[in-house]
């Protein structure tokens, strides 16, 4: 009896060990790849951010140091760009939610009885992915250009003052960010609205809740996972973006991404670029952790 138990136990442990070995065989190549090409580069970035430039040396020359002052300089010099990155990304996320949620509601709830229409509308939401986002952003730049039809019509009907312009403004940059990441907001929200059990919404009405309070207490909490992943998929890339600011903005709309790009390629000041990148990464990760914890959707990770 005891012997049987021991033997049984023994094979079970051996089996579990074999299974765990298979697991590691499956995991190892991919995780190793991420170690070499994600973890190690981030570590190098961290080291580079503490190097100092060689005064009077060749372009881009640095030497190992522990220059914490790089961080102080970066924060002090580029505070406005940091502020803009997070402000623009935040506004773009809120706008994308304001546009994407009703859109996802129409597709996921209203069109439920008509699968064909639902399919067509869903394809239209992902349609922007089929054309390069740079081409589409440049299209916006030309649509809103000073001599474009849109601007001249707006000026004729006096919706826009004669000397106003749409491109090279913060509004254009935020509109471009909102535009570029709108599908990333709409799709996860759609996924959770599509699964929404409408009987729960009806129950809210049956219990004399107003449509607004039914929405607040039933629909919104049930679609929260979609809202959280949608806002992360919008906010994270928007905070690091520099394409919209470069194409639709001007010097006064420059974001952290623009500074990192120019520090790397035009000024060839690697330590400052690295310090800015580390700060951006840390800030975004802290915000994400706080947001995910606050909204109670940790299992999303």
């Amino acid at each position: 009896m005891t012997a049987a138990l021991v033997v049984g136990h023994g094979t079970e442990v051996a089996g579990a060990r074999r299974r765990s070995r298979t697991a590691w065989l499956l995991l190892a190549p991919g995780l190793l790849y991420l170690f070499v090409f994600f973890v190690a580069p981030v570590a190098v970035l961290l080291l580079t951010s503490l190097f100092e430039r060689v005064p009077g040396g060749p372009v881009g020359a640095t030497r190992p140091a522990f220059a914490v002052s790089n961080y102080v300089d970066a924060v002090v010099t580029y505070a406005p760009q940091f502020g803009r990155s997070f402000l623009y990304a935040f506004i773009a996320t809120v706008l994308a939610l304001a546009i994407g949620y009703p859109l996802a509601y129409v597709i996921g709830v209203r069109c439920r009885t008509r699968p064909l229409l639902q399919g067509v509308l869903l394809v239209l939401v992902i349609a922007p992915f089929f054309t390069s986002f740079i081409l589409r952003t440049i299209a916006w730049k030309q649509i809103l250009a000073d001599d474009s039809v849109v601007v001249s019509v707006l000026k004729t009907v006096s919706l826009l003052p004669d000397d106003a312009r749409l491109t090279a403004t913060p509004v254009a940059v935020v509109a471009g960010l909102t535009y570029n990441f709108l599908p990333f907001m709409t799709l996860p929200v759609y996924a959770s609205l599509e699964r929404l059990d409408l009987r729960l919404v009806e129950a809210g009405g049956d219990l004399y809740a107003t449509p607004i309070s039914t929405f607040r207490h039933v629909t919104l909490p049930l679609t929260m996972p979609g809202i959280v992943s949608g806002s992360l998929l919008t906010f994270i890339p928007a905070a690091g973006d520099y394409v919209n600011s470069a194409l639709l903005g001007n010097a006064g709309t420059s974001m952290v991404g623009n500074v990192i790009d120019s520090r790397f390629f035009r000024v060839v000041d690697y330590p400052t670029a690295a310090a800015l990148s580390v700060i951006l990464m840390a800030a975004v990760l802290l915000l994400v952790a706080w947001y995910v914890r606050r909204s109670g959707t940790e299992d999303l990770l």
Partner: protein
């Protein structure tokens, strides 16, 4: 009463405006692929088919598209294989450091692209590797893996483990059970992940721009030539890709609908 009118009229109108916002630049890109543009494709100069008849009229456009396609295929194959293996391990096996593995997969998705690009470039500079075609592929595989894992994981989790047990009861070896039962069932998820990886790779600009050296991908070519004028052939390529992707997706939807109908009857 008020609610009825809001839901019935305002919501569809709002959705229609949202679609207008989403689709206007695509329509613009498409229209200007027919522009008799000459050197810069900024003003409408008249309708022509020449750009479509001669898509390689601006050789740099074709070159960059070919690069993007090659990079996209390589990055998709490698990241799909690595990511699928991880996804199966995560759902099917218990192992230590699971939380660590999950974190390692989540971090690249939560890091802004500009940081990923800068970190990789710092590493390549550090190792004295010249950025080019290979480093672009390396970078794309890196950011695609996590998205493949997320997509395939959902499919593995929805799989009924009893199907594999049934195969084992019928004396299939674990390997045969995997390749003849599990893998075919995972295939739709793997295909979706591969499509996602390809579109992420093909459309990536920021990470590519950091790690490309002198190699041009299509998005990089368009961005760089934006200041001196984009040839109309770039619009042709963009529109052609749009149409091809549209055909693929619509075919997929029609096939799925037909399968559903066949299953219903």
């Amino acid at each position: 009463m008020k609610r009825l009118s809001f839901g019935r009229y305002l919501l569809p109108v709002y959705a229609a405006l949202a679609f207008l916002y989403l689709l206007t630049p695509i329509a613009y890109t498409f229209a200007f692929s027919f522009n008799d543009a000459g050197r810069s494709n900024l003003v409408w100069r008249g309708f022509t088919f020449t750009n479509w008849q001669n898509p390689c009229g601006a050789p740099a456009v074709c070159e960059s598209v070919v690069n993007s396609l090659q990079i996209g295929v390589l990055a998709t194959v490698i990241s799909t294989v690595l990511g699928t293996m991880i996804a199966i391990a995560l759902v099917r096996y218990r192992f230590r450091l699971r939380a660590g593995a999950n974190l390692l997969l989540f971090l690249p998705m939560a890091t802004p692209e500009v940081v990923l690009g800068a970190a990789l470039l710092a590493q390549f500079l550090n190792l004295r590797v010249n950025p080019g075609f290979a480093t672009i592929v390396i970078a794309h595989v890196m950011f695609c893996i996590s998205f493949v894992v997320v997509t395939v994981k959902a499919r593995v989790a929805s799989l009924d483990p009893r199907l594999e047990e049934a195969a084992a009861d019928l004396y299939a070896s674990p390997r045969a059970a995997f390749w003849r039962v599990t893998f075919p069932l995972l295939l739709p998820g793997i295909a979706a992940a591969a499509l996602l990886a390809f579109s992420l790779s093909f459309d990536d600009f920021i990470i590519t721009n950091f790690n490309s050296g002198n190699t041009d991908t299509f998005p990089k070519f368009v961005y760089v030539s934006a200041t001196r004028g984009i040839p109309a052939q770039a619009n042709v390529m963009g529109s052609a890709m749009f149409l091809i992707a549209l055909i693929i997706v619509v075919t997929g939807q029609v096939l799925a609908a037909r399968r559903r109908r066949a299953a219903a009857t």
